[in-house]
């Protein structure tokens, strides 16, 4: 049975290594600050007990005042999974560090989020639209795009 790790204990571990990077950690969601996302992700992937080697999916949700990028990580040997979120409040050009260096699976999903939400992922080699054509202006999945 896949155990969803409780965000609290993982948050405490992250706090030790990267002070001030966890913005909010309630029972089931763990919100990490945007700029320290990459180190937290590397920490989650490489530490012995956690080793989240499988990235299930990345998606984004538009909550009008901020965007929330949701990562679901899971580990195939320990069979546990964790949801990590990060928020970006700037609506003009939101940016989140790209995790493609850790999980190659993030490649198309980050391009899709950029294409439909407009959230740029720094460090992504091929940051282009994936579904819509280059000349398309506006980002369809935003709540204000009618």
């Amino acid at each position: 049975m896949t155990i969803t790790l409780s965000a609290k204990e993982v948050a405490s571990k992250i706090e030790e290594n990267f002070p001030g990077s966890v913005v909010e950690s309630s029972r089931d969601n763990l919100v990490v600050r945007g700029d320290s996302l990459l180190d937290v992700a590397r920490f989650l992937k490489d530490t012995e007990g956690l080793d989240f080697d499988f990235l299930n999916f990345i998606t984004a949700v538009d909550y009008y005042d901020h965007f929330e990028v949701v990562y679901l990580l899971s580990s195939l040997e320990h069979n546990h999974c964790l949801t990590v979120k990060t928020r970006c409040h700037d609506r003009e050009n939101p940016a989140v560090p790209s995790v493609i260096s850790l999980w190659q699976g993030a490649d198309f999903q980050e391009r899709e989020i950029y294409d439909l939400f407009g959230i740029k992922f720094e460090g992504h080699p091929n940051m282009k639209r994936i579904f819509l054509w280059e000349g398309f202006e506006g980002y369809p999945l935003r709540k204000d795009f009618i």
């Binding site: 999916f57 998606t59 538009d62 195939l76 190659q104 699976g105 198309f108 994936i130 369809p140 999945l141």
Partner: protein
Amino acid sequence: MALRTEPFVLNMGPVHPSTHGVFRMRATLDGEVVVDIEPVFGYLHRGIEKLAEQRTYTGTIPLTDRLDYISSMSNNFAYCLAVEKLAGIKVPERAEYIRVIMAELQRIASLLIAVGSFLNDCGAYFTPFLYMFRERERIVDLFEMVSGQRLTYNYMRVGGVSQDLPKEFMPALHKFMNLMPRFLDEYDRLLMQNEILIARAKGVGILTREQAINSSASGPVLRASGVKWDIRKADPYSVYDRFDFDIPAQESGDCYDRYRQRVEEMRQSLRIIQQAMEQLPPGPVRTEVPHLIRPPAGEAYARIECPKGELGFYLVSDNSIAPYRCHIRPPSLLNLTALRDMVRGWKVADLIIIFGSIDITVGEIDR
């Protein structure tokens, strides 16, 4: 004196006999050797995630039929699981078993197409494809008897299934069950040990274990690379923990192993259906769920082992009648991530086979 050849770009355009739908690859070739490949998506983008935000929870079910239109029963299943997890709805026993039987029949039908089109890409001139469609026809007949349609079933509802099985379903399923294993054996005799196919597919397009995990591949592609990871065993949903079946896995992760992996999985699905038929309890098939469900605000992610891999629905609800956000984890798109590394250095003919062995449906890639 090295012969100076400069690579040219070959456009395996949206209209190409073996791109399984409107999918385009810009392949840079040096003679016959593939130097680089860049997939181009978006020809079938219908914006299903945006549409889902304007439809009620029940109205989105016909939308999920059109995602991976070759296995729409599994899409319904995943979506209904997600909504039930979000709203905390309990599904009656009989509905659970009917869902398992339908999902496994859909797995066989979808894997039949995957294997049929892979062998057709290898060059066996349509024969395996037509044999496969003859067997798929028997399953689609059963689906038509139950749901009324042959491709977009729209059979499962939040809280169970829309209608109970008709009387003549079980005898027909019994007939199908004792016909199918013999077909799979005949199918092995046709091409499994064929020397030409072995020469063409063995050792071609190898996806190593680490590469598969790192590029979030799932389903037969992941298991063919030697990772024994199947959501029906690792994270059993619905009543899958009551059946005993095993997870086949191959070792080297080349095209031939993916083909063999899919044939093995069909045999395991037959075992599951056999057990599910015996344990099918009587009773209601649907809990009383209001037509316009208003799940409490929150989010939920439910995933199933669909024929292509791990299909998941991430639903965010704000206690209104329509989902606030509905993200679909597309196994076909994520299995394609490693296509570029698998294909570089092989020939044009291998590019087609490797692409065929990943088995994608464009409806699920572009959503």
